[in-house]
Symmetry: D4
Subunit: 163 residues, 8 copies
């Protein structure tokens, strides 16, 4: 099975990354996580991206805040699907990172998820691998059913409380 | 080869859809385009999504403006990767559609691209299929090289003009 | 008397829902509250909405945050008035939920109230029922007078403090 | 049948009002339209609102731009449901009017629809009257079906074009 | 000397009002503070405004948050200068109140100051009275000099710390 | 009678200034208009402001766009009331100018009106002079009545059209 | 004299670049302009930046829109001062480019100027070179005086028109 | 070596200033820090700026929040490079200060860095001095390498934790 690469711009992004890792572990998808900054270590970030396909990665998750160039910088160096997680920071609640991640110019897409959306980034990566992996697709469908079940159980609890 | 589904909420989204279609044609990726509204034909939209995997689709592109629920509504009914294109409308330049598309709750990701980003949505869909299709990956890499070449040629022209 | 349906996308929305319930209790209007997610349990949300009129509901309040599709998804499946409460979340203070709720396309309105506006949603639902219920209308007018009275009493206290 | 009141802050709002009138005519719902400004004729606006219930109105649509106080000023003087349409103006695409209309304090709700959402305001008013008018509810359901039908026909045309 | 009226929409605005009162006390300008809501007690707010000139007021400060209609509602009923203080609330940091206060339509101005700008509203009111009161103008100039002096003293302290 | 000073940062602001001049002419209030830039001619702007009270001015209107410092720079050099008109420019619809004008620090207020609000700035200036000029106050009241009359006449025309 | 490098992400940025070139020509500062995209030709952009100091450049102006990573990508590869011009595009008036350019993480600054601010970017570059070039500094001071003179002449014309 | 001037509008900006001072100390660049307000002490701010070049300064950092005019007011009085740090305040997360600082009119640039970006402002000032100071440029390159090294070490630690 292909691996998912997770690149974060700074170790302060680890809480968001952890949410992604939890999902990948749950889905039993192998991954590698790295700290590479688009601005402080641009060469390493570019190198990771350009070798990722050959190194067995199937998709890359990039996690960054503020002028969040990391996902775009990764995407510029690979044709693997790159998923961008914009992180919130103090000033603008993540609007800076969201626009820096999603508003990519024509030619180099970044698949952007919600601000701090670690779990969804990993689920999207899983869904991408599942396109050619029916077993993983089945696991994802089961996860959906289980999530639906939890909502319905919470609804049932609510009904009992309300009696 | 798996097909790409393109669902638009209204036929007024066709100019954005056309940019996606042009890329898919260029990449020789089969597709189906439909007009299904998350609000006016919710059942048809949900049905398309829930049967898409069985019907040979590998990813779905959803195109909508304003309170753009279409991508989320599609994503809620399939574990195929769903790519959302927020369309700009008169009032907020697409900020309403962007936030409605990207800020999905945990569990149901939508891979969001730039406002009106038809070409990038199709490229992202292509990249997703290319994860298990080395030939398509090669075509995407060639497209990148050709895009880079065009930039460098334009730079060369600029240098000559500046002499 | 017709019932008010309250649908929340997640049990984390309960504090906002509670403000609505308090008003409905005060107005002695029957209600049912449910947890149904537009994305995790889309079928249940749609079913509730499509059967709501037959099940004795007169209006539905939908409560959701982020890419808040719930009100729109409910509205797509009923011609009962649907009242949307956009909930604030960490990133954008509720702007994402507000735009996702209010910017509905032509044909499917959602009556949107303020961010986290639980009490006003229930008052609006009450006002809707009161259109054909003069007794309820009278109760609402009394509530207004009492609210006005409280403001004037606070003003009186202020005048005494200022002497 | 109860009438719908339509109050606009200025005759420049007429294009948005016309969209509401068209829907009310289609639904055969009687209405009265007035130009009353919250700021230039506050007394007339307040008087209209406070007498509206006695004058046979079932709901009021208020249409205004910029610091759009009109819906709130109407709502402050009646317990009829008040529907606010924020109008776009040059500076902020209607964000000023949207926030001025929707962010009402607890106690006085305004049912806000999309920027320039004339048709949806009238549909919402119709849905409110339809709560106690099964025939009107049926008409609204038929309108929904017809709208759905139009979407599906456009989809069919698209399929034929794509062959 | 003319009085300054201070109207707040809710007693929760008192901290902002207090900053205004402190300045008026410092300037020895008489004032009256009231709690009148544009929406809960519209008649009282309008009456206060329409009688303010005759009651010896020279300017009115209106303090409100969210869809902050209070300043506009006051201004609609008097030709005294009306100063609006937009108050911040949880959702949008005061952007809703700012736009609701400042974006007044042609004909009815509101002199808007910064979000939560209690002191500046009172200073502006003082400056308005000082147009025809040279002694007050002198006091305001002295306050400016004293403020400048404080800045320069802080700069001097900083220089000593930095040695 | 005291004069109104109108300072614009650039002659491109003249259309907004003209709306102010029209109102002052209508009110028969003397004025002087100048082009002084806060950034290109800071000394002249400061000098005008610091001498304005002695030169017979009663209030100053400052008109500027983008990082609109002009009103603040004028206000820093006088205790006359300073009215700021934020002008819209291409990028942000005037949000840059609005925030640069209204968000003044404690101590130096600027009375801010709506984006491009030339007429309201002049009306506010008139209202300020009218605090000590009952005849001008009467003129302003008459202007209000005439504006109200126009609204009511437009309403009457609308009623006739609707018959 | 050191050269100024001007890098634009796309030839569609040329109108903004031209404003910079005009100022550099006026200041008789040598420059080189290139089209290098942060995403389509990341290697060329990085190489230009990393060799710029050795190639006789004293500062680099980077011009880009949308998720404008170019200035940051250049800045990551040189310690020359990098000036970023965010370009406006259809969706958000340049807010995406502004935040992507200015919100750089600690360690890698980008000197950001106004949206589409071509002339100011070149003036800033000139001011940077002028720190160690008194003659250029003198030229810049003369340009300021001439700009001030133009403002004062326009003011004089205005006075004559107003007589 | 030329000095860096640091001007803050209020001593409450000291935490941001301290981050700049730390970098300048690290780079062994002499500096002077002052508290001068654009609005409370405009003359002192202007005088500092207009004499700065003659007093041995090579660049000026201006630090201010809200309607942050300080950097522009400094820039208007010198042709030294002026670096603006917009400070966040309660209401808008620094958007007011950012737009007030960066959106300067043509002719008077301000080199704007991120909200609260004290370290980057000092690094930019250092880079400006380094244009004509190869030793300082070398120090800056070393700082970059050391920052890159730290990122790579954190990545190494992460790899070990993940084993």
């Amino acid at each position: 099975m292909k691996k998912i690469g997770i690149i974060m711009g700074s170790d302060s992004d680890m809480p968001v990354v952890q949410k992604a890792i939890d999902v990948l572990n749950e889905m039993k998808i192998p991954y590698e996580a790295h700290i590479y900054s688009a601005h402080r270590t641009p060469a390493e970030a570019a190198q990771f991206a350009s070798e990722a396909a050959d190194n067995g990665f199937g998709a890359i998750i990039a996690v960054a805040g503020m002028a969040a160039h990391l996902a775009g910088a990764i995407a510029a160096n690979t044709v693997l699907p790159v998923i961008g997680i914009p992180c919130s920071s103090a000033a603008f609640g993540g609007m800076d990172a969201l626009l820096s991640t999603v508003q990519m110019p024509s030619g180099i897409p970044v698949a952007t998820v919600a601000v701090n959306g670690g779990a969804n980034a990993a689920l999207l990566a899983s869904q991408i691998l599942a396109v050619s992996d029916p077993e993983l697709a089945e696991k994802l469908r089961e996860r959906r059913q289980s999530a639906a079940q939890k909502v319905l159980e919470k609804d049932k609890e609510l009904q009992q409380k309300m009696l």
